[in-house]
């Protein structure tokens, strides 16, 4: 070990102060996010065409029979809100994982084709093959991993370069979307609602048997990813530096890819590739928390919040009911353009 180094106590104190300030800010932000998500969740359960007071909602959740509320809240709103929560968290967490690992905000799974792959597989499984929820999820995760592997290996030419990976992902994405469009156009009539679900994501008709696989996947894969948080932040410094810091780069990458793709695939099989949530959550979380530490948990929470609010807005803010993916798409696209402009201006890593 290194010999003790004489450092002025004041410097150490300053370092401690900076670190504590950063950590306490993170804690505060995470707490606020949790509260916001909880509030959005509660509002989603209570409000709607009919209002149910918190007491009724609570009793339904605890399993009591409440006339009216049992059906509306228990069968319609609760699974929908839970799915929004899980899908948003999964997309946000997986998105920021990819962005961190590939060191580029644009390398999120919805831009490099992974969501499109899972979605195409799910659309084929449901629309063409009429499979059940479990098989759909399995196919979606296989397709997601397949696409991840394909994009990675196509981008690999003596090392993976971020820009090449993103461009290849855009190409693959275009192809997969056209397959999805074809599958949907073959399903009897062009059913717009169904098409929207697989092209931009929708929570319409969310039911418990869709929610359960996504919930189980999130419960298993989230701790796995959080365990890699420190390795991920080291990877941000470049493969060589991370390696010099003692990170097993390839092992970390594979673990993280499998876990993140799993999250994406299960969430997509249930709710479709909700547009831009994976892409947006990370940068928003970074804005709030600051670039210092790990963004995994904040990004997941931002994702949940985005989906809950967007779905509620889409259902009730306008005369028509819009699927959640259209709302996040309309919100997210300008942000994407803004991000490109900002990064270009700064001469950043694009």
């Amino acid at each position: 070990m290194s010999a003790p180094v004489l450092t002025r106590p004041a410097s150490v104190e300053a370092a401690t102060r900076r670190r504590v300030r950063g950590a306490s800010r993170r804690r505060r932000v995470v707490l606020v996010l949790v509260l916001l998500v909880a509030a959005a969740f509660a509002v989603t359960l209570m409000a709607g065409r009919t209002y149910y007071p918190p007491g009724d909602v609570l009793r339904v959740i605890l399993g009591e029979q409440v006339p009216g509320a049992s059906f509306t809240v228990g069968r319609l709103r609760l699974p929908r809100a839970v799915l929004a929560l899980i899908a948003g968290f999964s997309f946000g967490l997986a998105g920021v994982t990819f962005q961190t690992m590939l060191r580029n905000p644009l390398a999120s799974p919805d831009i490099i084709g992974i969501s499109s792959g899972a979605s195409a597989a799910a659309a084929i499984a449901i629309v063409t093959l009429s499979l059940g929820e479990v098989q759909v999820s399995v196919l979606a995760i296989a397709a997601g991993l397949g696409v991840a592997l394909l994009v990675y290996s196509l981008a690999f030419r003596g090392g993976v370069v971020g820009t090449r990976l993103i461009l290849i992902g855009i190409g693959i994405s275009a192809m997969l979307d056209s397959i999805t469009s074809y599958v949907l156009s073959q399903a009897a009539e062009w059913d717009l609602q169904e098409a929207m679900r697989w092209l931009t994501g929708s929570l319409n008709g969310a039911a418990w048997d869709q929610v359960v696989p996504a919930l189980a996947a999130a419960a298993v894969l989230t701790p796995l990813l959080l365990g890699q948080a420190r390795n991920l932040t080291a990877l941000q410094l470049g493969d060589d530096t991370a390696s010099a810091l003692g990170v097993r780069v390839e092992r970390t990458r594979i673990t993280v890819i499998v876990a993140a793709v799993g999250l994406i695939a299960f969430a997509t099989a249930a709710a479709g590739p909700i547009a831009f949530v994976a892409f947006l959550s990370g940068p928003i979380a970074a804005r709030i928390v600051g670039a210092g530490g790990s963004l995994l948990v904040p990004a997941g929470l931002v994702g949940s919040l985005l989906v809950l609010v967007a779905d509620f807005t889409g259902q009730f803010a306008f005369g028509e009911r819009y699927p959640v993916g259209v709302v996040t798409g309309v919100l997210g696209a300008p942000y994407l353009v803004h991000l490109i402009i900002r990064t270009n201006r700064a001469g950043g890593s694009l």
Partner: protein
């Protein structure tokens, strides 16, 4: 003083794809000293450095640290003894200096351990040693090239390794910042006994700052020893295919290399290299100066 570690390469053969870059190289890094590796473009300097820090697995042979093969050591254990600063490290957008330096603590932490006073002390010491404490709360993106390089060195220092490998730490820096960085590394070596191994492009800076100079040529070790032993007109010709004169550096007393090109020569008759071939034959050879302007990518190939 720090523990002195022995880092050696034994019969090391390295390459990418089907190209062999370094061929059965034997090398010992003198502990507690500053070792500088020099050589022409694409002679395997960076490759060698990458392999010594476990980034590149050898085709044949091995890199040994204190009797243990580097590529078999647990990653974090190695990272607590040996640090590497790559040629172009990446700073995440918007990260502050103190956060970036804190990242150097990675090998000292585990999934369950929390950041503690020792980590704070290491970060503070690293900031102080590199004179970057006033920058601690600035974003890395906003810094000048020289400041940024000092911050990266601070990150490597926070890792608290007894061995520090640096791949061209002075590239893209102007003259005064180059000296600043090299002085800083010398301070570290003198005050803490940190063993330093670095690749440098500038032969004269290499000769001035090295305790031990290693010249690579043709994938193998051409010469090693003190700068005075290694930096000779013969070595320069063999390694860089360049005629030169070596004089004593009036500032440091170390050898100073003066290249001889085809122009601007006062006494052509006195060129002691006339026998080795006419200037027109050498016209295809790469002059040393082009090294400096070469892009990092091409240098690494």
């Amino acid at each position: 003083m720090t523990t002195h570690h022995r880092l050696t390469a034994e019969g090391l053969t390295l390459g990418y794809g089907d190209r062999t870059v370094v061929d059965s190289l034997d090398l010992a890094v003198p502990p507690g000293r500053i070792t500088v590796i020099v050589g022409a473009n694409a002679c395997g300097k960076s490759t060698l450095l990458r392999s010594m820090s476990r980034l590149l697995a050898p085709r044949k042979g091995r890199v040994v640290l204190d009797g243990k093969e580097v590529h078999r050591l647990p990653a974090k254990e190695l990272a607590r003894t040996l640090g590497l600063l790559p040629q172009s490290p990446v700073a995440p957008e918007g990260i502050t200096v103190s956060d970036l330096v804190g990242r150097g603590r990675h090998p000292h932490q585990s999934v369950f351990s929390r950041w503690n006073e020792k980590d704070d002390a290491a970060v503070a010491a690293a900031l102080e040693a590199t004179h970057t404490e006033p920058l601690a709360e600035r974003a890395v993106d906003e810094l000048s090239g020289g400041q940024r390089q000092r911050v990266w060195i601070a990150m490597a220092l926070a890792q608290q390794t007894d061995l520090l490998l640096l791949d061209e730490p002075t590239t893209f820096l102007d003259a005064s910042h180059q000296i600043e960085v090299l002085d800083l590394l010398t301070d570290l070596n003198r005050s803490r006994g940190t063993t330093i191994v670095m690749v440098l492009h500038d032969l004269n800076l290499a000769a001035r700052y090295a305790d031990h100079l290693i010249a690579l040529a043709g994938g193998g070790l051409h010469a090693s020893g003190t700068p005075a032993e290694v930096l000779t007109e013969e070595t320069v010709r063999a390694v860089f295919d360049l005629d030169s004169r070596i004089i004593e550096d009036p500032v440091s007393g170390r050898p100073l290399m003066l290249p001889i090109g085809r122009h601007h020569i006062l006494e052509p008759a006195r060129r002691n290299t006339a026998a080795t071939g006419g200037p027109q034959e050498r016209s295809s050879a790469e002059p040393y100066q082009s090294d400096v302007s070469a892009t990092p990518g091409s240098a690494r190939k």
